[in-house]
């Protein structure tokens, strides 16, 4: 009996963080649905898809300590993969003459298309990861940015496959709040399992001290590659879901704006914990919505006030600077959701700082 009870406590202890995060997102969706605002549904869906993106980035950046500016490239790859799978074959036959037959002649349902997005995102990340995991921290981060630029140029100019600068249209826009919530929940569970796995443990060790991790038998490069692949697959899936939300794809969607917003979400929420990734998305979405409303103008006591255009971007930039100054480890400061079942395996203080020594290239004397 006490065995069953301690097993139950152990399960709750292990499942607390993902369960609490999913519950929080569920609450947001329920409240938003109850309020019934028309634009609210769209905003909530977009937010939940961003939860998937930011969690995807977190799986690599949070565990390894290396920031990536290139993940929106995997989102682009995933979105177009879903587009290829889910567009109207007639349109594909006309516009995307470069597609292979299995894509050109068929139309796949959303779950299949999103699986394809995840697979292609994961494969692209693994291939690209083989290059960047050879680089040290800051060089790797710069290379990820170069990757984003490359993906954007290729997809913007590869007319026979991506319709180039004109849009890819006719993807069934079937994703709403509930579907995106499901994907967010899956992302949370996958990221959490990765984090508490041996891979997550070894990566965090290498983030704290790469020299000591290597001496503990940790193959840092291999682990970073695995994390990069998993993270690319999650962000790729997010791209596929996003394609099924927008219904129309242009390469501009997956570039600097989205990169900036998602990185800001991760850093402001706190790169050192899964909770930080989720909280960052919720918080920044709220801030953006408020700024957007102010840009559109509000009337207070008969006087109309409107912020100038661009206030959104400026506001976000200032906010990020303030957080970096006053709370460099983000809102969550590396903590997971406080658990009512201590001592939890998850909710410990965990700083998400970027390590100085990197990748087994020990420029400093090893002492």
């Amino acid at each position: 009996m006490s065995d069953a009870r301690s097993a139950a406590v152990a399960f709750l202890r292990a499942a607390w963080t993902p369960a609490a995060l999913v519950a929080a997102l569920l609450a947001v969706v329920v409240v938003a649905s109850a309020l019934g605002a028309e634009g609210g549904q769209v905003a909530i869906t977009e937010m939940l898809i961003r939860v998937v993106v930011v969690i995807g980035i977190y799986v690599f950046a949070g565990n390894s300590g290396i920031l990536s500016f290139g993940h929106i490239g995997f989102m682009c790859i995933g979105a177009y993969a879903a587009g290829w799978a889910a567009c109207d074959p007639e349109w594909k036959g006309l516009m995307l003459t470069g597609l292979p037959a299995f894509l050109a002649e068929h139309r796949y349902p959303m779950p299949v298309a999103v699986l394809g997005s995840a697979a292609l995102g994961g494969v692209a990340a693994t291939l690209f990861g083989m290059a960047i995991t050879r680089l040290s921290g800051i060089a790797a981060s710069i290379a990820t940015f170069a990757f984003l630029v490359i993906v954007n140029s290729v997809y913007a100019n590869w007319d026979t496959v991506t319709a180039g600068t004109s849009s890819m249209v006719g993807i069934p826009a079937v994703v709403g709040p509930w579907t995106s919530l499901l994907f967010a929940a899956i992302a949370i569970v996958v990221a959490y399992l990765f984090q508490i796995s041996g891979y997550g443990l070894m990566l965090r060790a290498s983030r704290d001290d790469a020299v000591a991790a290597a001496s503990s038998g940790v193959d840092i490069r291999r682990l970073r590659l695995i994390a990069f692949g998993v993270s690319g697959a999650i962000v790729g899936a997010a791209g596929g879901v996003y394609a099924h939300f927008l219904g129309i794809l242009t390469t501009d969607t997956f570039y600097l704006d989205l990169t900036f917003i998602t990185i800001a979400m991760l850093i402001i929420g706190g790169i050192g914990s899964l909770t930080g990734a989720v909280v960052g998305v919720l918080f920044i979405t709220l801030v953006i919505e408020v700024l957007r409303a102010l840009e559109a103008g509000v009337t207070i006591g008969g006087a109309a006030i409107a912020l100038p255009h661009g206030a959104q971007e400026v506001g976000l930039g200032v906010l990020m600077a303030l957080v970096l100054i006053f709370r460099p480890q983000g809102i969550m400061g590396g903590q997971e959701v406080p658990s009512p079942f201590p001592p939890a395996g998850s909710g410990r203080l965990r700083a998400g700082r970027i390590p100085e020594s990197e990748n087994g290239k020990f420029v400093e004397p090893v002492r």
């Binding site: 508490i196 796995s197 041996g198 443990l201 070894m202 965090r204 060790a205 983030r207 704290d208 001290d209 020299v211 000591a212 991790a213 290597a214 001496s215 503990s216 038998g217 940790v218 193959d219 840092i220 050192g272 590396g334 001592p343 410990r348 203080l349 965990r350 700083a351 700082r353 087994g360 020990f362 004397p365 090893v366 002492r367």
Partner: protein, 281 residues
């Protein structure tokens, strides 16, 4: 925040000024079942540096050093600050590629292997500056090695707990490594190196900055390691009394060169050693 207690704060304590009885009793309980995991022919698997030189931008840190660590012994490595002790350990653990010479594990030439390959081949170390994973718990620190060496999470947690238990720091398992007192930090570092028992354990000044009694307590564990785990220990230590008591053999480095090797008694009598190291007091 964490004050680095380095070798700079440690004065050399000479054996002639310290006449406490030898043979430090281990003050902590330990299971009687000595786990000799690697009972084997020692000489076939010595860890050896053969004619190692390391130059940094032309400056020689160590020159043509030979050194052999044997299974089952505690080998002392001594020498003044800057003598090249850490550099030699770096070579013996894959953190520094020697400019010349070879590293041998038994018959195998392992020169140029990466640190993780050294550890997987059974050569473990601790660091002079600790280098614990500060944002992780004590248990996770030790688990990392076990997982890194292929254990499952469950098995890793169990073996890590055993190692922490043996070193008397199991109570701190859930604490963050970054906030440990100095003496515990050193023990956790040893547990992390020892968790899946290596064949060789290289300890870079594990007792630096400790009081005499803390030092004796720690060395109690070090002395037990060869019998308990069947591994060879290389011990860098400035406290001469401790070195003389703990080590069956001693190698002396000075200015990057090996100036003496032998039993504690023999080394102490070497004129070169006396002038370079012991003779100043």
């Amino acid at each position: 925040m964490m004050g680095r207690r380095t070798e700079a704060s440690v004065a050399l304590r000479h054996s002639d000024t310290d006449d406490r009885p030898p043979g430090v009793a281990n003050p902590l309980p330990s299971p009687m079942s000595a786990t000799l995991t690697h009972a084997s022919d020692c000489s076939a698997t010595d860890l050896a540096a053969a004619g190692i030189s390391v130059r940094f931008q032309g400056l020689a840190a160590i020159s043509e050093v030979d050194l052999t660590v044997r299974r089952g012994e505690v080998l002392g490595l001594i020498g003044p600050n800057g003598a090249g002790k850490t550099t030699l350990v770096n070579c013996l653990t894959g953190h520094q590629r020697p400019s010349e010479g070879r590293i041998l594990l038994g018959q195998m030439d392992i020169t140029g292997w990466s640190p993780q390959k050294f550890r997987r081949a059974g050569v473990a170390r601790t660091f002079q500056s600790g280098r614990l994973f500060k944002d992780m718990t004590v248990l996770e620190n030790v688990e990392t090695t076990a997982v890194g060496l292929g254990r499952s999470r469950r098995a890793a947690a169990r073996e890590a707990m055993d190692a922490l238990d043996w070193l008397g720091v199991a109570d701190s398992a859930e604490r963050l490594a970054g906030v440990l007192p100095y003496t515990d930090e050193r023990r956790v570092a040893i547990a992390r190196a020892l968790v899946v028992p290596p064949e060789y354990l290289l300890l870079d000044e594990p007792a630096a900055g400790m009081s005499d009694s803390e030092c004796d307590e720690l060395l109690g564990f070090v002395n037990e390691i060869p019998g308990r785990y069947g591994c060879g220990v290389l011990l860098i230590e400035h406290n001469m009394r401790v070195v003389m008591n703990s080590c069956s053999r001693i190698v002396v480095l000075d200015g990057g060169r090996r100036i003496a090797e032998g039993t504690p008694e023999a080394v102490q009598k070497e004129p070169g050693v006396i002038s370079a190291y012991l003779g100043e007091g």
